[in-house]
Amino acid sequence: MNIRNTIDQKGKEILNVYCTAGYPHLDSTVTVLKSLSEEGVDLIELGMPYSDPLADGETIQKSSQVALQNGLTLNILFEQVKEARQHTQVPIIAMGYYNQMLQYGVEKFLSKAHQSGIQGMIIPDLPMDIYEKKYANLFQEYNMEISFLITPLTSDERIKQADRLSSAFIYVVSQTSITGKKGEIQLHQKEYFERIAQMNLHSPRLIGFGIHDKTTYNTACKYSHGAIIGSAFIRALSEGDMEASISNFITSIR
């Protein structure tokens, strides 16, 4: 099933967990994808590690750096997803930066990603206008869904554009910040979530950035269709008994 249908069918409390491909070890990707799926997460956001991840905080920067040092490339990543697909059908949305797609060749990138079993993309530095003009048809051709980000500073007009163009879900960035912030969700954030919820958007909304525990996850779910957990999961991932650390983490959230 694709990403949008998965969210629509369940309708609420979607748990989307981010992991970095090739982290902590090059061959961890398949294990992590499998375990997350066994733990019942609804979606997986798979980080395509990048040398200069501008929107990411220290945790994801470090995991990306380790993954690259481990030798992860896009070709290896696609092979790993293909292998994981023999064990799990949980929808996977890949997250990376525009330059990775450009250098690989956008069409080849989409084709390989599709063949490997990736269903969607999050590319935070790909402008919506450029996507619409240059790539929307290609994404459709390769059955690739996409999610655009909105933030507390995004205008209503742009929110509507993100709603129209996001074929997976709208990624509601919980605050204007990079990833990995801890702390409780503040009143002004709740007001912002509420404002977005009142807009009657077509696309489902998942809240991400700073969602790190049961409380923040539950709050996010109250105002949207679910939440995305990234840095907190990476921090919880143990190199020793990886499966147990994944299981413990997911249990602590739900």
């Binding site: 200069d52 690259l68 450009l102 402008p127």
Partner: protein, 396 residues
């Protein structure tokens, strides 16, 4: 055919195929606002008057255009040095920080951040923040903090907080990453003063315009000295490209003036330790713009190397990428060794200690050939006090 806009920025922020704004949504509002107001604000008469007055009385402009007897003799041409090293704070960087701090005030920002490599842009930013009573945070790679220690001390003395960038090669690229992340975290309160002709539109154009005073003065000064305002060559070093952009700006559409860039070859183009972006680079995206950069087949940015912190950058401004690709500008590489030799030469022969960045521009004079009557203007972008540690180590 109109010559205008062959090389200048287009309305949507492009120089040919290069430029644009590729930024995460968290910065969209800031960038969009800057795009909408930067021209109007910076061309408003009050702004212009304030900018020009500060350049004159605070920075000490116009900077002299000095004919170097020794270099003219050595290379068999009329060689002039545009003395940006004599500006307050010792480099061209302050032209841009004056412009941007005035802009920051007009758009109501209370907190200023900047990246710096050599520390000259950091010092220039800390200086204008002291002048205008604004909070100032400078991101600088750990490696650069060590090799440009005098500038770190100056920034602190001026009241700025210097925050080390500890990722990647811990140099200019990484400092820029950290500054952008800070901006994302503080988008509403903060203005980011980018120090070179890089970044998302409108930065390359904004920085170029604030630096264009360099070529404006060159024209007038050259006319006064030679009766002709157009040189045959303008030579400048390029890190991100701000001093070159400023020195080229008023000559862009005058094709008889050849535009020459010196880039840092580090330990050699093929050594694996180089920052020769135009030779080793390909089109891609770095720090929010499409330009030439050093990268792997997978689009991972390659860590550069140069002895000079200000040129130790894996990209180049989008305007320069366009000038190079279209053949309007020509690039020569200079190695660490060649730059150091050129720095020593100018010090001993002219009594001018240039910055290591600038020394790359001096070094490529060796690789060019001139006719006796050629008028060459070289942008002496900064002074070399900050590099004495590096040079002393080298001499020992």
């Amino acid at each position: 055919m109109t010559m205008k806009n062959l090389y200048n920025v287009s309305k949507d922020g492009y120089y040919g195929d290069f430029g644009g704004a590729f930024i995460p949504e968290m910065l969209y509002a800031n960038i969009d606002h800057l795009q909408k107001v930067y021209l109007e604000i910076s061309q408003e008469s009050n702004f212009v008057a304030e900018f020009e007055a500060l350049l004159k009385d605070y920075v000490g402009r116009p900077s002299p255009l000095y004919r170097s007897v020794k270099l003219s003799e050595k290379y068999g041409a009329e060689i002039y040095l545009k003395r940006e090293d004599l500006n307050h704070t010792g480099a061209h960087k302050i032209n841009n920080t004056i412009g941007q701090i005035l802009l920051a005030r007009r758009i109501g920002k209370k907190r200023i951040i900047a990246e710096t490599g050599a520390g000259q842009h950091g010092v220039a930013t800390a200086t204008v923040c002291a002048l205008m009573d604004l909070e100032c945070i400078i991101y600088m790679g750990e490696v650069d903090i060590a090799r440009q220690a005098p500038n770190v001390a100056r920034m602190r003395m001026l009241g700025a907080e210097v925050r080390p960038a500890t990722s990647g090669s811990r140099t200019l690229k990484d400092a820029t990453n950290e500054a952008i992340r800070d901006w994302i975290n503080n988008a509403e309160s903060t203005h980011y003063i980018i120090g070179s002709a890089i970044g998302p539109h409108p930065y390359p154009d904004m920085v170029t315009r604030f630096q264009s005073v360099i070529s404006q003065e060159i024209k007038a000064q050259l006319f006064e000295k030679t009766g002709d305002e157009f040189p045959d060559y303008v030579v400048a070093c390029v890190g991100g490209g701000s001093n070159a952009a400023g020195a080229f700006y008023h000559f862009l559409d005058h094709s008889d003036t050849k535009l020459i860039l010196a880039e840092a070859a580090g330990e050699g183009i093929d050594s694996g330790r180089s920052a020769a972006t135009s030779i080793l680079g390909s089109q891609g995206i770095i720090h929010g713009c499409k330009t030439l950069l050093m990268q792997t087949n997978d689009g991972q940015i390659i860590e550069p190397h140069s002895v000079s912190a200000g040129l130790d950058y894996p990209g180049i401004g989008p305007m320069h990428a366009h000038l190079i690709n279209s053949g309007r500008a020509k690039v020569y590489p200079a190695t660490d060794e060649e730059a150091i030799q050129a720095m020593l030469y100018l010090s001993r022969e002219e009594g001018i200690i240039p910055a290591l960045e600038t020394a790359h521009a001096l070094a490529i004079l060796e690789k060019m050939s001139f006719q006796k009557s050629d008028v060459v203007v070289l942008c002496l972008s900064g002074r070399g006090d900050k590099d004495l540690n590096t040079i002393m180590k080298y001499l020992n």
